[in-house]
Symmetry: C2
Subunit: 284 residues, 2 copies
């Protein structure tokens, strides 16, 4: 059997993974959902044919989108997570005892059901009693919120198609409003390398910069995402991602990670020259 899943990362670049077998294929109200088993990456989930995560490298994305803000904000109790029906973000968050409530807003209930069945290691966090799942459009949910959250994590799909609204000025403005006076918002921010992705990056950064006084970008190596060079946005009302990093406090928690460390935290914000330039163009 010679079976390959391929994703066109651009019209001219293709990333392919050998597949042992397809474990699931379904169509929800919103998108096509597939699960595959592969020798290199273990199981992986795709939405509308785009790679969402693999068992082998999901830890990188999920650690970097959660532990960075958690190591900066001194006292996080209430969190809103938008997207992330796979449970990976929530799994990392439930490792913090001080967190009291996690509201998870996922538009597609079928994603949650599929992940619970095929990715128990990722979805396990969803069972935590602090987690409240709302099957709703994040765009609408956020409009009702006011000064409720210490942290908002936007774990969206790409800014093309269903996830598009989660990259707009209106949405980021509503996130600002939904955060307490010292709140932080973190979002997945695409890649700076391929032209179309880089433009999406710039647009998102411009929109965030208009709402938040502190807006910085950080990076990680995620092999199954286009170019492997992935960015995250750190937007904040008060705390600076480096000056307010408290390494001692975070390390005393004893949380075991495979990618994140408080040393790597700092390096993640030291961007290549061409990325700095890309972002500077929209900061003016």
């Amino acid at each position: 059997m010679d079976l390959w899943f391929s994703e066109k990362q651009t019209n001219n670049v293709k990333f392919s993974i050998r597949v042992d077998k397809q474990l699931y294929s379904g169509q929800s109200e919103f998108q096509r959902i597939d699960v595959f088993e592969s020798p290199e990456f273990g199981k992986f989930l795709t939405l509308d044919g785009y790679m969402m995560f693999t068992e082998k490298d999901e830890f990188i994305y999920h650690e970097m989108i959660t532990h960075i803000p958690m190591a900066v904000h001194p006292h996080v109790e209430n969190i809103l997570v938008i997207g992330a029906g796979d449970g990976g973000v929530v799994r990392e968050l439930t490792r913090y005892e001080e967190i009291k409530r996690i509201d998870l807003v996922e538009i597609d209930e079928m994603v949650v059901e599929v992940c619970k069945e095929y990715f128990p290691h990722t979805a396990c966090g969803l069972e935590d009693e602090r987690v409240h799942i709302f099957y709703e459009d994040g765009l609408k949910f956020i409009r009702r919120c006011k000064e409720e959250y210490d942290l908002i994590i936007v774990d969206s799909t790409d800014p093309f198609g269903p996830g598009e609204g989660l990259f707009t000025r209106e949405f980021y403005g509503n996130c600002y409003k939904a955060l307490k006076e010292d709140g932080i918002m973190v979002n997945q921010h695409e890649s700076p390398f391929y032209e179309e992705d880089a433009l999406a990056c710039q647009r998102a950064h411009r929109n965030i910069t208009e709402s938040f006084p502190i807006s910085r970008i950080y990076q990680a190596h995620i092999p199954t995402y286009p170019s492997g060079h992935w960015l995250f946005g750190f937007a904040s009302k008060k705390y600076h991602p480096l000056r307010d990093l408290d390494e001692k406090r975070w390390n005393e928690r004893g949380i075991k990670t495979h990618y994140y460390t408080t040393t790597l935290h700092k390096g993640a914000f030291y961007l290549p020259a061409y990325v700095e330039e890309l972002l500077k163009d929209v900061e003016k």
Copy 2:
């Protein structure tokens, strides 16, 4: 025309680039050499079917393998470069006025000729009068050298096939001998992500650690290399890659870069937890 170049990054992962046309194909005494034109990456060179560099992202590799040691060592005059027949490493080095001599040892003259014809932007540095090219096996060349160089850059192919000898304990021992008392050796060090590459990484790191008192690893995002997460080795007799970094001195030179900055320099040494663990296992 639907023409694709594919590289199997492992037996189970394939990276493919759309090709406009093949510009060159030849067989040297050592390897098959091909040049392609692509819409996404411009022209690119392959050796025995493996991606060596593309016009679009070669700047990342070449800046990171040269400017890191140049920003640490206070006074580099004599340099040995092994491999690197494409001229990219030499191009970056020729931007430093204080460098007096660059010996380039490339086993395959045909690589140099092909790069001069198809990659003038990369090969341009080879015309500098400080550059002396030796068409020889680097393994043999290095045996004759003693305390001659301030810096050795090992720009090898992978540790499988012809480049294998450039990852051995004997070779690194000879590099140590060829360096002056405060010399630095930098080498390309593979990727930590896929299992076979990670093992090669560990072996190389173990072998370097046995010869050099200071041996550290740093990373860069290189989209066309397997996993996009690429490592370099920094081995040194005296200077520490972070404690002896002189940001002011380097920035005063006014060298314009697209990836390297002296801030990024520091972050490049802050490795993910799983890479730290991979390396620690062989440091004992």
